[in-house]
């Protein structure tokens, strides 16, 4: 009886679906459809990626040779700060929420996200947050110049006056993320098709589930710390002001208590995406599914007790340094489990190398390099040398660009046929991949050596001996930036036309999303599928 009623859902209730009929801008403003909202998230994040990338191009142009050529030091600081904030909160995070919106309901056999109106809100407040952030470039104060980590007192006592706008923007981003995360958790808990138990969920769904919990746990901490910053700067409190009895080091503790889980928020969904793609193109089941689930959970748990590895040089007692060093190194264990599982999945598989697979394999190798440099940074004694140098910059770009971003590319290529109904241009996709791969390594690999040789991060000028490496890094940077326009071309071409995609264009792909037509109809799984 129950299924009977749900079967009739479509025919009986027209009023729920009238977002169908809206046209033009209204369709997008009022839509509560998970696919529309997913698309908007993905486009938004891509635009932010280009904006943040444009800022990076100016940074690399300034660093092309020693001396001050193009920008003033203060403006340089604004560039690095806003670049970081945009890439973290505007490009990577919304892209993953876009994936979640598009894919989660289809993967668990649900007709939509559980809270469609909330979903609309959580997307539509985002553009305002970034309008404020980017708009501050054009204000008298200038944009935030205290680094994406906004350490007090740089952002309080010594702020250029942009703190209020910054705090406001971060609050909006935080609210958006929390609403999005609540939606994801509720959807996964309550909307799974009958028979889909937790341990039958695709790993992709698991990683988003855990990430959403991380978001719910730490975004409020971020909201709290920016609020303290605001009152310290404008209302005379002294949370972080030594003159009034506060302690600036406390800022770092609270920030990194948010900040380290935040970096896992940006990598766990990537794990989910490559764990979907690698089995598909190896034509094997994912090796060690349940160990992947446990590894993801333990990474999430451990991420709460390692934050002070960002603060080794603040003068912690020896015990603290040892504690945080060992906890950090412990994270390498579940991370290693994952890497070995991906390798085991590929082992003796009949692999093919379409663009999504290429990006996924590059992910496994290059993310691992980032993990290794992370391990080096986790060693307290050597971190005293590496801290605040380009070595750290190399580390986090390997995990975030060749890690998170590459997984986003992989996922985009993988599901583009499902989204658009057309195959993307495979040749162009491969060109995008190889251009990105070569340029990204030229861009970030030499940074390791620059850091080891002592070049500090966040500086507009540098000593002469770093000149050669910086020249190559900048060339890599420009090439990487240009390569991303190829991606834009691929996506536009794919939306406009191309070879028709079948419901399941990838031979080895698994999952409910491939049981519906391509492009995925506006409403899918209004009748829950049968899971065995």
């Amino acid at each position: 009886m129950t299924t009977d009623v749900l079967n009739d859902h479509d025919s009986h209730e027209g009023e729920h679906h009238d977002d169908h009929k809206m046209t033009g801008i209204k369709r997008w403003l009022y839509t509560t459809n998970h696919k529309d909202i997913g698309s908007m998230y993905l486009w938004f994040s891509f635009i932010m990626f280009l904006v943040g990338g444009a800022l990076a191009m100016v940074i690399r142009a300034e660093l092309f040779q020693p001396g001050l050529q193009i920008v003033e030091p203060d403006f340089f600081n604004q560039l690095t700060t806003v670049h970081g904030l945009i890439m973290v909160f505007g490009a990577i995070m919304p892209a993953f929420v876009g994936f979640a919106n598009w894919m989660l309901p289809m993967m668990i056999g649900a007709p939509d996200m559980a809270l469609p109106r909330l979903n609309n809100w959580s997307f539509w407040i985002l553009p305002f947050a970034f309008a404020i952030l980017i708009g501050s470039f054009f204000m008298e104060s200038g944009a935030p110049n205290f680094g994406w980590t906004f350490y007090a007192p740089l952002s309080t006592t010594y702020s250029n006056g942009s703190t209020a706008f910054f705090v406001f923007a971060v609050h909006i981003m935080g609210i958006s993320s929390i609403m999005g995360a609540i939606n994801i958790v509720v959807t996964i808990m309550n909307m799974r098709a009958p028979g889909m138990t937790y341990m039958k969920m695709p790993l992709f769904v698991w990683t988003f589930f855990i990430t959403a919990y991380l978001l719910i746990a730490v975004m409020p901490i971020l909201a709290g710390v920016v609020t303290m910053l605001l009152t310290d700067t404008y209302f005379g409190t002294s949370f972080f002001d030594a003159a009034g009895g506060g302690d600036p080091v406390l800022f770092q503790h609270i920030f990194w208590f948010f900040g380290h889980p935040e970096v896992y928020i940006m990598i766990l969904p990537a794990f989910g995406i490559v764990s979907t793609i690698i089995p598909a193109f190896s034509r094997k089941k994912l090796f060690g599914y349940s160990s992947m689930v446990y590894a993801t959970s333990s990474i999430a748990f451990l991420s709460f007790i390692v934050w002070a590895h960002h603060m080794f040089t603040t003068g912690m007692p020896l015990f603290g340094e040892l504690f945080f060093m060992y906890c950090t190194m412990l994270i390498a264990v579940p991370t290693g489990v994952k890497v070995f599982n991906w390798m085991a999945t590929m082992w003796r598989g009949s692999m093919t190398f379409e663009t999504p697979m290429l990006f996924s394999i590059a992910f496994v190798i290059l993310f691992t390099i980032g993990g290794f440099s992370g391990l080096m940074l986790a060693l307290t004694p050597v971190d005293f040398q590496y801290h605040d140098t380009y070595f750290v910059v190399a580390h986090f770009h390997y995990v975030l660009v060749t890690g998170s971003l590459f997984s986003i590319f992989a996922g985009a290529y993988y599901w583009l046929p499902k989204w658009t109904g057309h195959m993307y241009d495979e040749t162009l996709g491969k060109v995008h991949f190889w251009c990105s791969l070569i340029s990204v390594n030229l861009l970030f690999f030499p940074m390791h050596f620059l850091g080891l040789a002592g070049m500090p991060r966040r500086i507009p000028d540098y000593a002469l001996q770093f000149a050669d490496f910086n020249k190559w890094v900048s060339i890599g940077g420009f090439a990487f930036g240009l390569s991303q326009l190829i991606f834009l071309a691929v996506v536009i071409k794919c939306i406009r036309g191309g070879e028709k995609a079948s419901a399941k264009p990838w031979e080895g792909a698994e999952g409910l999303e491939w049981t519906v037509a391509s492009p995925a109809p506006y409403h899918t799984f209004t009748t829950p599928p049968k899971i065995d």
């Binding site: 009986h12 509720v186 719910i216 746990a217 709290g224 030594a242 003159a243 302690d247 503790h253």
Partner: protein, 197 residues
């Protein structure tokens, strides 16, 4: 009412029931999640006092006692001599001269000492200063006892006024063996704005 509409009615109410129960299930989860959200927001603020307590116990951030300690007369340990160094710093924007009168003293644990610091307001406006002390190594902070200190109070100085300010302290007998040198650092802040408001 014919049979068809009746059935449709039944359908409709059943469907509403299902939707309602789904909504109830959802709002139950949402409530729990919102509890986490508010809880963690509060936890962020709770970290402030927690950190203070933690630092008090461990001497993590080198903060010393901010109210006068009483002299605990447990004798003087002449077998050990501790060097206590004084350094001063003025925070950005306070036009004062500020330095210790002597740069270091040698004391035995348990022995009381009195030293002086000199300050002069070199500007032509009245300014209220606040000195904030910090001890390095941080673990020693708990053993550095100030009986009297200019840092316990605000220090107003009129334009061009100068002053000598006193510090009376002793080093606790319990100071760990391995510590032989203590550095006491004062940073002087301009808090005129905060006092006015």
């Amino acid at each position: 009412m014919d049979k068809g509409t009746e059935q449709a009615e039944q359908h409709k109410s059943l469907k509403q029931e299902i939707e309602q129960s789904a909504q109830q299930k959802n709002s139950k989860v949402i409530k729990k999640l919102m509890l986490i959200v508010f809880g963690m927001f509060g936890f962020g603020f709770a970290l402030v006092p927690l950190y203070d307590v933690f630092c008090d116990i461990t001497g993590l951030n080198g903060k010393t006692n901010d109210t006068a300690a009483a002299y605990a007369d447990g004798g003087i340990d002449t077998s050990r001599t501790i060097t206590v160094q004084f350094i001063t710093r003025t925070a950005k924007g306070i036009p004062w001269q500020f330095n210790p009168v002597i740069n270091e003293v040698k004391v035995h644990p348990g022995e009381m000492k009195f030293v002086k610091f000199y300050a002069k307001n070199e500007s032509d406006r009245d300014i209220v200063g606040q000195a904030v002390p910090s001890v390095s190594p941080g673990l020693a902070a708990a053993y550095f006892q100030k009986i009297e200190c200019f840092c316990f109070t605000q220090q107003p100085l009129q334009a061009n006024e100068e002053i000598e300010m006193g510090l009376q302290f002793y080093v606790d007998l319990e100071l760990p063996e391995e510590i032989t040198t203590l550095t006491l650092s004062y940073t002087l802040y301009d808090i005129t704005g905060k006092v006015d408001s």
